[in-house]
Amino acid sequence: MTFPAIPITNASPNEMSALLVAIAIQHDKQMFVRLFVYYAPRVKAYLMRQGVDAAGAEELAQEAMLIVWRRCETFDPEKASASTWIYTIVRNLRIDALRKQRRPMFDAGDPALAPTPPLRPDEFLLGEQRERRVREALAQLPAEQATVVRLSFFEDKPHGEIAAALSLPLGTVKSRLRLAMRRLAPQLGETE
């Protein structure tokens, strides 16, 4: 079975969400190819950035894309974008892979293996709005805050090590993170 070479597209996240919905309805492999071409190399790059070796990242990226195909019917574009949904699949897959490496016999009933609880109806109605708001907030973060947020996602390091890597006092890293978090998730600043 051969497929025409498809260039890496710079598709927008919204296009990818629409594509994923269409795949769930039509089970169309040609559509899946487009999704694969966009996401698989990004998933691989993301995992390598987190310290997974190239072969492991390649394998996990393939696994992730299989999960995307198998679970695409559970994707709800009102809750999250395709990129956010796929991000959580990749994150959980990496956690599982690390756990199996360390401890081949694991308890499938372990609560740590449970996915993040789904948002409730009143929460996910705001999903699209939240996606837009968070993306804008991230784009508008001062560079110094964006840097510590990125390092927190990519580096398996305590903040003390991030501080050392950036030659900053730990308190500075923590306050930058705190400021960034308040912009990305304003509800954290709410008093109850």
């Binding site: 939240r130 968070v134 990125r150």
Partner: protein, 74 residues
């Protein structure tokens, strides 16, 4: 709004959403989230950050047979 007896620190929520939290604290966070709308929606926001980083990262080329291997398993 659901009130939990305590909240998870911002630093810990960030590590959790990033998938960088050690197993034991991750279990504690997972147990806390169902009862706490504030922490739950913070994690949802931080997962969007993860999705955005995935969009922004420079792609690493997959091996030449990766697509056919995956298609064969669909």
């Amino acid at each position: 709004m659901t009130h939990a007896a305590y909240h998870i620190t911002e630093e810990t929520l960030l590590s959790y959403a990033a998938g960088m939290l050690a197993e034991a604290p991750a279990v504690a966070v997972a147990a806390h989230l169902p009862g706490c709308a504030r922490c739950r929606s913070a994690v949802a926001a931080l997962e969007i950050v993860g999705g955005t980083l995935l969009d922004e990262i420079a792609p690493a080329p997959m091996s030449s047979n990766a697509l056919s291997l995956v298609l064969a398993r669909l």
